[in-house]
Amino acid sequence: MNLPKAHKLYEESVKILKQNQHPNGGFYASPPGTRYPFIYPRDHSVAIMGAISAGLMNQAKLGLEFILNAQKPVGEFSQRYDVEGNDASYKELQIDGTGLVLYSLGKYFKSSGGSFFEEMADREFIEKHWSTVEKAVDFILANKNEEVDLVHTINSIHEFPAYEHGFEIYANSACCAGIFAAVEMGEAIGKDVSGWHDEAEKIKEAILTRLYSPRRRSFIKCIRVKDKSSKPIGYDSFASNVIDVDVVEHAPAYFGLIDENDIKNISTVKRIHENLWDKEIGGMNRYPELWNRNNGGYGPWCHFTCQMASHYVDVDNHDRAELYLSWIVDIAHNYHLPEHVSTIERFEMWLEDYTNASILRDSKLEMIKQAREHPKWKDGLAYITFPLIWAHAEYIRAYSNYSSKYL
């Protein structure tokens, strides 16, 4: 790996993170003038964790203040907000965002005070927002199915109900970890949160049993169920499993519910690498090509590649960690990272499919124009959504992890 370049990319990523935080606290998903100039709780939470990793605690706190104040009356955090904190969603429930806000708040709290956590931790901030935390946990638990102890959602990380509507692994892992974080914060400020702890343990157990396939030796993506309260769920009109490989089947370890070295995780990641490492371009795809829903063409995603690099650091697979992280360093253009990369051939195939099917929305036209005008187009590559703040936040976390172990 080109280490000077890798370090420069880290420094530039920190700058990009700072530059893309609105004075009100929201981290743009992508800068104004690009595809996602809104604040998405999912991206925003990862940006907050990137800020924490880089030691930008004031920025992390400002980001949390913004999102905690934007909670909906029912306790949910919406799909996305404008810079004023107004709900600007256009998609249905994606409950992982609510789990992620709690999880990133927990990360902030644990990092506050540094080595002097007991004396200096920011308990005041947690107390100030405690009713928001309570409402968020209540909202998650209101969406938990009592038959299987899993949380129901319509969308999750890919915003793709066709494969995520039901009991989906990323949403469940995020929500479970979010409740555990709420338990830790509650205990630190003297609240009785034993009931939440029991509920989180039930969800965790269900993830490790119902969303794990011993014969495949892998976590699975989703138990498809249409209605969260179908009783029994076996009679639900969607009742089935999604067993295709998805990079977020790594979510139980990503959210710290199990150790990265847990055998279930190791074998899951093996399946992910074998099926989703892009053999033409390199980098980590998010799900199989035949799902055919990669706007801008099928190809590897930077933030998922960073997440997997971090996994390989944790399990001390130096070669694989370097393979993943160096791909990110090499794919960066002017030290900026795209959402994902495709080839021109795949880009045109996607465009043909979506045009013929009449499902190419107006909002995609700008993305198409920007991909074709990007300097990398001349190298045969389509850079989609450039830069994406989430990718830089995950790079900050992965590079920190890598450098603290190997440099």
């Binding site: 909906k72 009356p73 029912v74 004023e84 107004n86 709900d87 969603s89 256009y90 909002s363």
Partner: protein, 168 residues
């Protein structure tokens, strides 16, 4: 079953309490749903224009109308809403209605925007059944928009709103 039951319920309500009271009932439901959902503005934005690229709940209404046709009771509610708009000094706050669900959608959206400090002027709507354009002239006048300007957004959306900040 529930969407059909609700739509049939609207028909029954008009027969029991009349179109005026039924309109108020629907407006109240929409505002209460807006309160529960909280502040926000759905759909696409271009500067101070907000438009909804898809027509919400159309499938339910189409299925209902395939079975029952368009009930006279729905038309009476739309006529009464338009009448209220025409005689009101605040006619700009009423919807440009193409179908019964527009009542719910408008007052729900209006309330959610109001919570965030924004007034939504429904300058025009497009029928999801016939693609016919319908305007609220009073809203257009207050928004300072021409039909041609509204039409540009109706080509790509079903509900078009001008967003105005509410002065405290």
């Amino acid at each position: 079953m529930l969407p059909k039951a609700f739509l049939l319920g609207i028909v029954e309500m008009v027969n029991i309490i009349g179109s005026e009271k039924t309109l108020e009932w629907l407006e109240d439901i929409a505002r209460r749903l807006g309160d529960i959902e909280g502040g926000g503005i759905e759909g696409a934005r271009e500067d101070d224009i907000n438009y909804i690229p898809i027509s919400p709940c159309t499938t339910d209404l189409v299925e209902f109308m395939d079975m029952f046709g368009e009930p006279e009771e729905f038309k009476k509610i739309i006529e009464y809403s338009n009448h209220k708009r025409d005689i009101s000094d605040r006619g700009w706050e009423y919807p440009a209605l193409t179908n019964i669900l527009g009542v719910l959608h408008h007052w729900y959206s209006y309330r959610r925007a109001e919570i965030t400090g924004i007034k939504l002027l429904n300058v025009g709507s497009k029928s999801p059944f016939t693609d016919e354009y319908v305007y609220n002239e009073k809203a257009m006048e207050k928004a300072g928009m021409t039909k041609e300007e509204v039409d540009r957004y109706l080509e790509k959306g079903y509900y078009v709103y001008k967003m105005e900040k509410i002065d405290n």
